[in-house]
Symmetry: C2
Subunit: 402 residues, 2 copies
Amino acid sequence: MSDLHLLSPIGFRAAGVYTGIKRRHTNDVGLLICDSPASAAALFTTNKVFAAPVKIGRQHVASGKLRGVVLNSGNANACTGKQGEKDALRMCDLAAKVANAGRTDFLPSSTGIIGHHLPMEKVEHGILEASKNLGNSAEHALAFNDAILTTDTKRKVAAVQLKVGKNRIVLAGISKGAGMIGPRLGPPQATMLAYLTTDAQVAPTLLKKLMQQAADLSFNSVTIDDHASTNDTALILASGASGVRITSPRDTKLFADALVDVCESLAYQIAADGEGATKVICIKVDKAKSDADAKAIARAIANSPLVKCAMNGNDPNWGRIVSAAGMAGVAFNPDKCALKLSATPVFRKGTPVAFNPKLVSESLKSPEVWVHLTCNLGSGAATIWTCDLSKEYVTINADYHT
Amino acid sequence: MSDLHLLSPIGFRAAGVYTGIKRRHTNDVGLLICDSPASAAALFTTNKVFAAPVKIGRQHVASGKLRGVVLNSGNANACTGKQGEKDALRMCDLAAKVANAGRTDFLPSSTGIIGHHLPMEKVEHGILEASKNLGNSAEHALAFNDAILTTDTKRKVAAVQLKVGKNRIVLAGISKGAGMIGPRLGPPQATMLAYLTTDAQVAPTLLKKLMQQAADLSFNSVTIDDHASTNDTALILASGASGVRITSPRDTKLFADALVDVCESLAYQIAADGEGATKVICIKVDKAKSDADAKAIARAIANSPLVKCAMNGNDPNWGRIVSAAGMAGVAFNPDKCALKLSATPVFRKGTPVAFNPKLVSESLKSPEVWVHLTCNLGSGAATIWTCDLSKEYVTINADYHT
C-alpha cells in the first residue's frame, strides 16, 4: 500500500517548494500538473464557512476536467472575503501559465491559519519556483505532499497497482490532517486535504460517484476533534495516460475497491497522526438499527473527550463508552448491547462483565486499540477511527498562536 | 446569591457523612428529609443509558410528592442491571425508615464511576449515621452538598429570599458537576446533580413547568465536555412550611425568575469549576434565525476542543470560532455575521477586522471571557457557558482510573 515508487502515476508532474509561509521549514507551495486534461471529481467541506479556494475549486471542478492543483500550507485563505477569492484565482492564473492552460483548469487549495490574507509575494514566488522543479517521480510526489502538511508529524501516502484485464493501472493518494479533523465531505469536512491520482481513464461522473462512496467509508469516518474545517478537500484526477478505460462493471468494482483501500489507508494514517495522538482507536459498532445509527453511535464515542482521555491513560473505564453511545440521539438499549475492549468483554446486556483491569489496561497500551460495541437492534454497522486526547494535544492547540 | 444562612429553608433537615466510598475524604452519603410531604418536580438525563437511581427516581417523583432525597457519591450505580435497581430501592427503604415514610417517598441519586455495584455496607452505614446528624442549618445543608461532590474543587450553592406580598420565602440550591457535563435535562444530561429547596407552597404541576423552563436557561446551557451523563438529575422540593402559596401570575413570575437566577448561578459555578478549567467562557449568539439555531451555534463553539484550547492559551484565534459556527448544522452565513472577542470586533461580514492581538490575548486571561457572535439572520438568541480545555483536564481524566 505504501509502495513509494507507485506514488506518481503516468501523466502527472509534481513539485513542492519552501517559501517561508510556514514557520516550520518544510515545503509550503505545491504544484501538480496533468500533461493533458484529466477527469476530475472533488468533494469539499460541508461547513457553511468555507474558504476562498473551496469556493473557486467548486466552480473549476464543475466541468469534470482539470489540468492540476496549486496549493499552499501555512495559511487557509479562509474568512478573507473578496480579497481571498482574488488571491485564490491569482494562484490558478499562475499555475495555468505554467501548464499553458486556463485559470479554470486548476483547483486551488490552502490550509493553515484562518482569517489572514495570503502572503501573495511568497505564494507567487513559490509557484514560479515549483514550475522549475516539476517531475514525475515518487520524490516529486513527496515534495508536493510535504507542501500540504501543517501540524502533521508524518506523511500520509498510499498507492496500489491494479491489474485490469491484461493491463496495469496505478492509483496513488496523498493526504494531510492532524487537527481540525472531523470531515463530512459532501457533494458540495478537518482541514483534511487528499489528492488522488491515477493513470486510468475514468469518466468524471463515475469518478465522482466512486469518490463519494470511498470518502464515506474513509475520510468521513475519521475524527480527531470533530471540527469540520473551512478547507477540507478530496480530489481525484484520472490522467488516462495508461490507456486503460474503466467502464465494465467488473473493472469499475476493481477500481472502486482499490479507491476505498487507498482512502481508508490515508484516513487511518490521519487518525494515527492526530495532534498529540499516542494511539489509533478503532470504534466498530455493529447490529445497530441502521448503518446511520451505527455511525452516529461510533461518532459519539469517538468524540467524547472523556473516552479519549481514558484511552490516553490506558484506563478500561468502559462506562464512558456506554454512556456516550446512549447520548448519540439514535436507537440504543444498554440491556441488549455487548461491549468489548480490545477483544475483552466488559459489559453485556445491562450488566458489567468481570475482567482483569490490569490485563485490559495493558492491552490498551497498543498503538491500535479496538472498541467493539454490538447493539443487537438490527444489521447496521460502521467503523470510525479516532485517536486519544493527550496533554500534548492541549500544548499544540493552546500554543499554535495567531 | 450566596447567602449561606439561606441554604436551609424551613421544613427541611439535611446531613452528609463520609463512609469511604470515595477515595477523597469528603462526605459521600447524604440525606435530605422534608418534615411533611413536599411538592416535588424532577428532570432527569435524556441519555438512553440511565442509572438505576434515575429509573427509580422517575417512578417515585411521578406522584408529585416526596419526603426527601438519599444519595451517594463515588459510585454512579449505572450499568449495574437488576442488582443496581435493588440497591437504589434499598437506599430508599432505609431513608424511609428514618422519616417514617414509604420507599416511594424518596428519590435516590448516585454519582461517580459507572459499572460497579454499590458498596452497600458502606451506603447502609452512611444512611444510618446521616440519620443521627440531621439538622436545619446552613452547616447541615453544606454537609449534604459535600456528599454529592466528585471531581468538583468548589461547592456550588445559591440561595435567595423573596418577598411575596407581605411574606418572605427562601429558595436554595446546591449542585455538583465538573466532568461529564453536557446536560440536556428533559421531562423524562453531566453527572450534574442539583437539588433545590424552598419553603414556599407550590403545586407539583406548576413546579415541574417552572423547573423545566429554568433548566433550559441554566443547566441545559452549560457544557464542559458535552458528555451527557447516565445520572443527571435536577430536583426541586417545596415544603410549603413558610405558609406562602405561589398561585397568582405575579407571584408565579416572581418565583420563576428567582428559580432561573438560582439555577443560572449554579450552572455558572459548574462551568467555572469544570475539570481543569482556568476560566469561564460565555458564548452569546444573537440575531440567529431562531433561539434553537442560536443554541446550536453556541454549543458547536463551546464544544470545539480547538476553541477551548485556544482559550486556554489566551489565543485570539477567532477562525476556530467562526468555523465551529459554520458546522453547527443550522443557518449561518459568515458574510453577514459579526464576531467580538471580549468586546473587541475581530471579524465582520466575511472579512477580518484588524485588532491588536496582544491586547486581546491579554483580555482573554480574565477568569470570565465573552465570545459574542451576531448572526444577522433573525431574532434568535442563546447564551452557553463553558470552560477552557487544559492539560490539567487530561490529567484528571486520563488518571481517574477504574
